[in-house]
Amino acid sequence: MSDPNQRIVITGIGLTAPNGNSLAEYRANLLAGKSGVSKYEIRYIGETLAGVCHFDPLKYQKRKDVRRGTRAGSIAIYCANEAVQHSGLNWADVRKDRTGVFIGITEHGNVETENEIFEISKFNYDTSVWTHHHNPRTVANSPAGEVTLSLGITGPHLCIGAACAAGNAGFIQGLQMLRLGEVDLAIAGGVSESIHTFGIFAGFKSQGALATNSEPTKASRPFDLDRNGIVVAEGGGLVTLERLPDALKRGATIYGEIVGHAMNSDATDFVLPDPTRQAECMSLALSRAGIGAEAIDILSSHATATEQGDIEESLAIHKVFGDRASLAINNTKSFIGHAMGAAGALELLGNLPAFDDHFAHATINLDRPDPRCALPQIVANTPRKMDRVEYILNNSFGMLGINSAVIVKRYSGE
């Protein structure tokens, strides 16, 4: 890309995942094969499994703010503040009116609505005790808006509803707003509070797509013959995005450059994926990056441990990448479950340290690879040392046939 102001780089990372509350902790656990899935209880469902985060919301919020806001808001506030700190930005000097917040969400409001219905059920469904906090908690911009309140940001804020492609969609929105000149700093990524709604568990269960396992850490098994569905997780991953010249001017550490992205739609089914469109999405991202498939070193797969989803994505990946042995394909959901709106963000961010340590983290719980997911490049159970890591491609797909791919390049100083 000839115009340096169109080059967008990642300069700070804040995250909370079921197995880590900072990039360093998360990465260490991904390399160590440590799962974050545990037993979990939720109203009406009883005991199930989930990826639960253990960050301290009071690190950046008052107790009153936690009470008034939402879990997604707390996650977003934690991640945004961590990203800003990690970026080394002198926050007092940052123009808040030129800063934007762009957060991908799978859904928002289910948790708060369910809670309130449960509450009024104790009052014989008397709606006069329905909380006045309901609307500000459930408007679709709520998590991003809570970030602006926390950090005093007066530029634009949006939540991008993109099912489970939302994390990538948040990055893409941030990148585009920077390229358009609408903002000078973007806080972008994805969050999810979905483990606090029983509906998502019940929905997957009714669909035959909710994982069960007597050993929680073994429950999330993408590409494995013994998989039996999704482990729902919460989490968040937000980054600071800047134009390359701005980042260089302030001497920022650059964790990667977003060089390619794509989003498209299957237009075929509410839930079933379409490998043709997924392959087209990856190809479009490669085209925009100006590279061929042979340039990608690590492919972070979306696979959720549903039979059809895993098989169809494998077909799509094979169509674009073939059997090239130097490609490493991994899957973060095997560690943390499916973090929904945060999935794409966490899955990309956990791979970025590979630019420095040259390891592709593994896909754990892959004991009996499904031959229908015939991808010989899957990194099974132990990390793979890489000869080089220059490009990472991150897939994220979602219901209603939404597909996304983001390509990040190691920043080499050029």
Partner: protein, 85 residues
């Protein structure tokens, strides 16, 4: 319910609504808003909590009675006289 008991009920509600505030030195004659972080949504929380706990209906035109602890207690005495703490 006695005036003291009503005061304790209101204090418990305030502690839930403003968990970051130390309310041990709350002055009963001074407006809540001058002593603690309390905005309009918090104020509605007081009304809502009383509604949930004791089915007390407080019409909007009476909100002014809830400005201080002393005036709140006085306002609630006739409404809660048959309630138990």
């Amino acid at each position: 319910m006695s005036a003291d008991q009503i005061r304790q009920v209101v204090m418990k509600i305030l502690c839930r609504i403003a968990p970051d505030n130390d309310l041990t030195a709350l002055k009963d004659e001074v407006p809540f808003r001058e002593q603690m972080e309390l905005d309009s949504m918090d104020f509605l929380d007081i009304v809502m909590e009383l509604r949930k706990l004791y089915r007390v209906q407080i019409p909007e035109e009476d909100y002014g009675f809830l400005s201080t602890m002393a005036s709140t207690v006085q306002y609630l005495i006739p409404k809660l006289q048959t309630a138990t703490a």
